[in-house]
Symmetry: C2
């Protein structure tokens, strides 16, 4: 229907082609596609089509496909850090909180498998991206802090907290990767049971009780 000439335009404000928040829309669409079709199913052409924009519009907002994936990974580490700290604090910043933190880590990966794979993809591991590095380090720091705090209360042996953190990170990361790749018993509750078992074992060890 025609509009009277000179009347105030009814179209959405100040974006001649599309919404002004194209960057956010592209990011959301990319994450959606990754969740549905995996990282290999993500194409820049597909992202453009999902948002209703040309194949190349994306290059106004991201340098290339790697830059888009790096932003996805950065957001993932941010969500992971928030989840870890939330579990730690909600659990009472002690032994129970630390176990909740480990379970929250594995749960995050199981609930967002494709997102988690992007976060730890080999292609992004060595790229120079300050924001990604910062968020990745932030998530790891949540683990280091929790360990140090437990040490200050005598709950964890006084080894270097960084080494303890690497050890525990490797463990939950290994469980997470094997689980989302289907290399562990498939039931989700079995993975949760393995996670709890692993957290028990890192506290008490595998040596027989009579050692």
């Amino acid at each position: 229907m025609a509009r009277a000439a000179g009347s105030r335009p009814l179209r959405k404000p100040r974006n001649r082609y599309h919404h002004g928040s194209l960057e956010q829309a592209l990011l959301t669409a990319a994450l959606h596609i990754i969740q549905q079709h995996g990282v290999d199913g993500l194409t820049l052409r597909g992202v453009g089509k999902a948002v209703g924009v040309s194949q190349t519009a994306l290059y106004r907002h991201f340098a290339d496909k790697s830059a888009l994936l790096r932003r996805v990974a950065t957001e993932g580490f941010r969500k992971l850090r928030i989840g870890l700290i939330g579990a730690w604090e909600k659990g009472g910043r002690g032994r129970a909180g630390f176990e909740a933190m480990g379970e929250a880590y594995v749960r995050f990966a199981l609930e967002n498998p494709s997102h988690y794979r992007v976060m730890f993809s080999a292609a992004l591991a060595t790229v120079d991206d300050p924001e990604l590095t910062h968020e990745g380090a932030g998530a790891f720091q949540a683990l280091v802090d929790a360990i140090a705090e437990q040490q200050s209360h005598g709950l964890v042996r006084p080894d270097p907290p960084l080494q303890l953190a690497h050890f525990i990170w490797a463990l939950v990361h290994g469980i997470a990767m094997l689980a989302i790749d289907g290399r562990l018993p498939p039931q989700a509750n079995e993975v949760a049971a393995l996670t709890r078992f692993a957290i028990d074992r890192i506290r008490t060890g595998v040596a027989p009780a009579s050692r």
Copy 2:
């Protein structure tokens, strides 16, 4: 130079175009390319060129690119199993042997990072490939057997050996993945130190000595 008509042909026996062992040559070339340029750098065209054969000759021997990668992964698990069992037996099938096994696992990944990534790539995790499944299970079984044998000597607590194996596998896999992705302190000896630390901790736990 011309050959006398009717003389016995000097060319290599019974392969009109290339060596008869094209399949092995393709596999070797693929592994070589993966080691040098990573999995993403592997193209079927590149494999053909490396062997001196057309881009599509490969399809006589492998159904598609995935089949080629599955064979590469299968060979990797075979080598890994042999290395694990070798370390276990050479170390005396006891506590020292089990620690050597853990170190051998991480060392294999560090020495063959791209090969290791293929073995655990998400794309191959869910594919139905009996030989790949068999070799993967074989490598894992070496771990289960070593645990059960230690349990029979009272060296490891009598938990379900499968659960213990999943736990330890996740740990060494996590260390291996983080290390080859450059997410741990970069020196190789630091990774070895972390591996030894981790193996110590799974035996004695992280609880303080006074617990």
